[in-house]
Amino acid sequence: MEHRLAAEVLRSARKGAEQAEVFSVSSRAMPIQFEANELKQVQSKESSSTALRIFREGRLGFATASGGGDVDALVDMAVETSQFGSTAGFQFPSSRNYSEVRIFDSKVEEIAMERMVEIGKELIARIRGHTPDILCDAQVTRGTSTISLINSQGGEGRYDKSFFSLSLEGILVRDTDMLFVGDSESSCRPDFIEIDGLADRVIWQLEMAKKKAAVSTKLLPVIFTPVGVASALLSPLVLAFNGKSVLEGASPLKDKLGKQVFDKKLSLWDDATIAYGVGSYPFDDEGVSGQRLPLFTNGVVTNFLYDLQTAALADTQSTGNGQRAGGGFPRPDISSLILSGGDVSFQAMVQDMKEGLIVEQLMGADQGNLLGGDFGGNVLLGYKVENGEIVGRVKDTMIAGNVYQVLKELLGIGQEMRWVGGVLQTPPLYCSNISVAAKGS
């Protein structure tokens, strides 16, 4: 059905355009939501959208339609926008054969609603077994999507993807004190999701947060857990490696290719080929093959992320990172990021600290000058370390820093790698001299 529509759109668009491309997504998802420890809502969501991109008189035009199958309206909108679009500096790729990336597991479709309800109940029961008065919101989601792409240069591709995820957020209120804990797991393969692993991590958070600890305003070493790395440090890096930021000269890394910017022990790469990774794909949303792309290796900057148009303007090649959030306009973006592991155990990092913080969740971390590399925010979940031991949870505490200063020289890189939100695999990072501001000091 979608394929017929795509072919029809392409034919119709070609009448007035030099080149044309049709990208279609159709997806089905079933999220099951628990609220305050009880099953609240079962949903099934179906959606489909078609995006048309054309070159007309050398300019880019773009339109999307979801729901309706009105081909003429879609073509008219694309033609209208092409009067003002920027000059297309590239050709649509003529690729038809892509290497296989394993991202579909038919077992996802076989998981009954009843089983998903059980999974949610099991997870909540484990957390409440530890802390009976906690209120948990949980979500169990399964889904599948079909992506297809066809263009006037002979390019064509299609793939199916599956998705399974489990997330939990717990809140514990005592008077006006609130504690938030939580974590999530996601994969294309349901049997990669571990209920116990997720429950254990949340229970660890509850254990560590049992006591409260005071912190004063000063510079302190900080261990970012994997969730903490994703919460505090990821956004400025993703922005700086985006080819668009580099092209316009706004990225602090714009002239740093081949230069040492980060700690020698640290490497970061983007990888669209990881089996069953939720960010993986055989080809990106413009028909360019996905790949394993080193962004920095041993601290030396090696690549930036490009889509077709940005690459053309920067006089380079697309890296297969053209992505369309919600089926929209393609932009460079990460597939999955992997930060290399190190040789220090989490326990050893903690033991090394005389006084410091462990940061799991930072609230409002994206509000500062991200382009400049700044991060900062309220420690939503974090713990105080004194003389090598975790002594309790900190509250009313802000941290602030700059990723280029913090990641230039690390005190340690953890051994324990883990996936966060399905898009980042990272070890804990042990950083020095982070500015900490606390209330009442």
């Binding site: 009105d70 694309a78 609130m178 668009k244 706004a250 602090p252 409002g364 509000q367 939503l380």
Partner: protein, 452 residues
Amino acid sequence: MRDLIADALKGHGADYIEIHFEEGQATSIVYRGERMDEISRARSSGGNIRALVQGSWGFVSFNRMDGLREKVNLAVEEARLASRGPLKLFPTKPVVDTVVSQLKQDATTIPLATKKKLLDSYNGIMLSSPKIQSTRINYRDGRKQRTFANSEGSYIEQAKTDLNLRLTAIAREDNEVQQAGLSLGSNGEFSAVEGLHEQAREVARRAAALLSAPQVKGGEYTVILDPVLAGVFAHEAFGHLSESDFVYQNENLQQVMVLGKRFGGKHLNIIDDPTIPNLRGSYKYDDEGTPTRENYLIREGILEGRLHSRETAAKMGERATGNARAINYLFPPIVRMSNTFIAPRSDSFEEMLGDIEEGVYVKDWYGGTTSLEMFTFSAGEAYMIRGGKLAELLRPVVLTGNVFTTLQNIDAIGNDLGMNQGGGCGKGGQSPLPVSNGSPHIRIRHCVVGGR
């Protein structure tokens, strides 16, 4: 259409069923520096069904209208999976009504060429300013035609337009990068984004000035918030706590949020009101068909009310307030704010400033988020206050605190109410929802300001 819906709703044995349909169109324009980065148009159509059986919900969303009866069946089946016990929704009278949007100059009907010319002129001003390396402009307008029907006999058609613009100037000198921005919006009235040339110039000037501005020294300060940032505070810090879906199943939180409890001084009034004409968060009926009204959240420092859906109102034995909203047909309605503001009092800005020995004046919105008790929000612009006078410009600062303490620490409320229509609100994966928020200048004692 009405007959088709009525037919699909019949005889499923559910306690309650509702259907939403939506037809929408949108235009989006993005500049990155001098380049037109994206220009796109979109159309969408779709709908959803929500069914309630024994206290739990089934929800089905779709793009295709065919097989409506089967879709209703599926939603009912899903809802039957979990019976939480009987639940009566707060009773509302069935409504049959049609709401049309009345705009002088509807942005969605303005030719693309006119929009582009206007944005080009703002971009030109910013790009030609000293030290400006790049710019961002994000413009978006859209229109939605929504149809709502439920098994109680309501049938409501509502048209809603929305407009949103953000201008950002990025300044660079050596390795230093700083940015400043302007965010605004309207209910679709195009005039809201016209005539901003002087503001565009000012945004560029401020970005350049930040390059040589110092960082605030982190710690506790007396702060004055301008109307924009104080509005964000009202929304983020207090407004979200007033959303009953956070409270209705949480007994501990209910004790914290007991109606009649004192939250601030007698001078403090916080109101959520969708009925104010022509703001971004204005509407006549929410997405459960409940008519809207003015809602006092805090009156004279005392907690007076909160925001409800029909479900949360019934559970808590309070009135439905008309605050169940969904960003589009892919989502079920949840409890959301509309136009949220701190009511003005009599203090002037100069009086507030006068007795501050050392403090920080924070202006404009950059971002804000909350976890019920704790909030953080960041200012787009900040100045030191020394000896009762505004002093040097500071690098952007982040404010954080505990909402209960902070509300008590508001010691002055100004006389200059301003409503901010930029941005949008995100909650439960639904973002951005059109809202507005506002306040006069307010002063807060002992506020934690982050910096290095």
